[in-house]
């Protein structure tokens, strides 16, 4: 029974982690920005989802449509905030060093934390209904809310969707050229600025979606975006910054290792994720899936 529980918990946690982290790796892969506002979008998504879906249910509208409200809230908040940040600030910094841009996003993260506090205050928000409405299922004698499968499904859909866009569409191929060399792409007539805007918005939308889908399972409180940025960073560093398969593998490794630790050696749980990260970086300093980088002269 315990082995089944380890497997199930690992799958659910890995899926949640991937969903939370994939936007970070997408933005880094295209724009070479370690985007600390990723945590802000996660929190904004959670707050918007808890507020709007909570109001939806309180007004007596069909509860099953609250799932659509969760997703809609995440998209709404991203469409408003992400272009504003990218066009309003980040685009002026692309010529700067990566570290400077990261510090700018960190500053924005701090500002957004206060904006969130200004809008929603410090009291917790709950939207528990979507978590329980789908019922539950049993595996190995343990009950799991069916909602967990929504998280797993969303993670799989995100991975498949990004892979399909990158590999099968014209836009994706153009994006790969931008990833490879923005300057040459620009010289060839690619609108790199638009790709940056769309990528930043999509990456932020993934973070907001993760927050929105997490909201029914947690108490939405100030500071929600702080811990997720650390975890997401651990995941994408293990896999290799900017690598989609790397983020997936990183999430699976972290999720599985944490699940094994919780069940068999809970005293190591706090330390195990970062021990794995340290071990990976010791042998592969640029992560498991990082491609060798050509030296530019």
């Amino acid at each position: 029974m315990q082995l089944v529980a380890v497997l199930m918990d690992g799958i659910i946690y890995s899926s949640w982690l991937f969903l939370a982290a994939v936007g970070l790796t997408l933005i880094y892969g295209v724009m070479k920005i370690v985007n600390v506002t990723h945590g802000s979008f996660y929190a904004l998504g959670a707050y918007a989802a808890a507020s709007l879906a909570g109001a939806w249910i309180a007004k007596g509208y069909p509860p099953m449509l609250s799932y659509a409200v969760l997703v809609g809230a995440a998209l709404l908040v991203t469409v408003v905030a992400a272009p504003l940040l990218e066009r309003g600030l980040l685009r002026f910094m692309y010529a700067k060093d990566e570290v400077v841009i990261m510090l700018a996003t960190y500053a924005l993260f701090l500002v957004l934390e206060d904006v969130i506090k200004l809008i929603w205050g410090v009291d917790p928000y709950f939207i528990a209904e979507p978590y329980g409405m789908m019922g539950s299922f049993e595996v190995g004698g343990l009950t799991y809310p069916t909602y967990n499968l929504v998280i797993v499904g969303a993670a799989l859909a995100a991975a498949a969707g990004i892979a399909w866009v990158l590999q099968k569409t014209r836009v994706g191929r153009l994006l790969i050229t931008v990833i490879h060399d923005p300057e040459v792409s620009r010289a060839m007539g690619v609108n790199v600025d638009r790709f940056f805007l769309v990528t930043f918005t999509c990456g932020s939308a993934l973070a907001a979606l993760a927050g929105a889908l997490t909201a029914p399972t947690v108490s939405v409180v100030p500071g929600l975006g702080v811990d997720i940025i650390v975890l997401s960073f651990a995941v994408v560093v293990i896999g290799g910054l900017g690598s989609l398969p790397g983020a997936a593998l990183g999430a699976v490794i972290v999720g599985t290792v944490r699940s094994v630790s919780v069940h068999y050696a809970p005293q190591f749980e706090l330390f195990i994720i970062y021990a794995v990260m340290a071990a990976v970086l010791a042998f592969r300093p640029r992560g498991l899936f990082s491609a060798p980088e050509a030296r530019k002269i």
């Binding site: 918990d9 009291d123 709950f126 343990l142 009950t143 399972t217 947690v218």
Partner: protein
């Protein structure tokens, strides 16, 4: 010459008078430190800030019932200097120094985090500034050091842990297996350690199936809940608070954990009304003392709870009670010291001497400064079980335990006292 002397004497007297008037009008600056942002703000920090605002405003307006009827502290109005407790321990030490050395506060009342209290105590002593911790729980503060200027007017986490174990002894005497879920820092570790040791004393042979210690604010507890479900524990102990407590309840309830095992939520009072739909009947709830639903039926409690509810539309939780009783305790000590000094403003040393070993009544009942050489409070405590009646969350089967059964004698460490079968060495 005589005229000159008379003039000088008159001027000196006038100057003294003016100085006295100015001194009497100058408010007493009270540094209040509590979480105004971050995850601890909603459940503790803001209710405590609200209690401080009410107390300062009503004390200044002479609207608090006896024996707190005198304006401010000893007739001098209070001025609150509010600081956010959020941020690192290093930040808090810096903020404390700013409060004392730049804002020139007369005293400090604050701190919810046990980590912050452990860091601030030696700095308060170094700066010789009267500092009263109103909420943090770790017993280590006065068990590992002694202080002249530092006090804590709320009980330690030992009381919560021993009280929870005594409650189970009375209500579930046949339990065999226990498990725990606590945050991996001073509060969680101390709470779990004291509770597990108490259970071993009260239930010889009891088995600990698992002790889960996730990171503070982890938020996702699916794997921990699975581990607790497979552990077969009769009772699951948690000292989780704030968002972690609420997330645990939200995630554990649909998986049946809170019905399969009896959950002991030592700080559950802060979540019980918000999550009434998720918490099953029979869950053991604590409030870190005789606060909230466990507060005594006294005139002072009725005044405090109704005043708070009228102002903020919610009943005060334990953090609000602890802030109110912290201010009340310091007020009485200040006035005692001031009376002994013939009405003059007392020094920090004189207030500290008055607060040592003092006993007073707060909204939560009698507070006695009987541990830590008179610097650490003890109170009775109470636990009960949840029951939803006509859609309203209530507590039933309430048991009260006197302070003597919950705390070690002065000078003895809590862990040693518990390990010695709750007896003095």
């Amino acid at each position: 010459m005589l005229r000159m002397k008379a003039l000088a004497a008159s001027l000196a007297a006038a100057a003294a008078l003016v100085s006295g008037v100015v001194q009497a009008q100058e408010p007493i600056k009270v540094g209040i430190v509590t979480f105004l942002s971050g995850p601890a703000a909603g459940p503790f920090g803001v209710p405590a800030r609200n209690a401080a605002e009410i107390m300062v405003e009503l004390l200044n307006g002479e609207k608090v019932p006896a024996p707190y009827g005198k304006k401010g502290f000893g007739g001098t109005p209070l001025q609150m200097v509010l600081i956010d407790e959020a941020g690192s321990t290093t930040t808090q030490v810096t903020e404390f120094r700013n409060l004392v050395q730049r804002s020139n506060v007369d005293l400090v009342i604050g701190y919810i985090s046990s980590g912050n209290c452990l860091a601030i105590a030696p700095v308060a002593e170094e700066l010789k500034k009267l500092t009263n911790f109103f909420d943090c729980g770790t017993p280590r503060i006065f068990e590992e050091a002694s202080y002249k200027y530092v006090f804590r007017t709320s009980p330690t986490s030992t009381m919560d842990s021993v009280g929870a174990a005594l409650y189970l002894k009375e209500t579930k005497p046949n339990l065999k297996v226990v498990a725990g879920l606590n945050q991996n820092y001073a509060w969680g570790q101390d709470s779990w350690g004291d509770w597990e040791r108490s259970m071993q004393q009260l239930f010889p042979g009891v088995k600990t199936a698992t002790s889960q210690m996730p990171k503070l604010f982890a938020g996702q507890f699916g794997a921990e809940i699975s581990a607790l479900l497979t552990s077969g524990a009769d009772v699951v102990h948690t000292s989780f608070w704030g968002g972690d407590l609420e997330a645990f309840i939200l995630q554990a309830a649909p998986r049946g954990l809170l019905k399969k095992s009896t959950a002991v939520l030592t700080t559950g009072e802060t979540a019980m009304f918000k999550l009434a739909a998720q918490i099953p009947d029979g869950t053991v709830i604590g409030a870190r003392g005789p606060f909230g639903p466990f507060a005594p039926d006294t005139a002072l409690n009725k005044w405090f709870s109704s005043t708070f509810k009228d102002r903020y539309n919610v009943p005060p939780n334990y953090a609000a009670y602890q802030m109110a009783q912290a201010i009340m305790g310091v007020k009485l000590a200040w006035e005692k010291a001031q009376d002994a000094k013939g009405g003059q403003k007392p020094t920090n040393e004189e207030v500290a001497a008055a607060l040592e070993n003092m006993t007073w009544e707060g909204p939560g009942g009698i507070v006695r400064m009987s541990l830590g050489k008179g610097h650490q409070a003890v109170m009775e405590t109470a636990y009960g079980q949840t029951k939803v009646v006509k859609g309203q969350m209530t507590v039933t089967n309430v048991r009260r335990f006197p302070a003597e059964r919950l705390n070690p004698p002065d000078g003895m460490k809590s862990s040693d006292w518990i390990a010695n079968g709750f007896k003095a060495k």
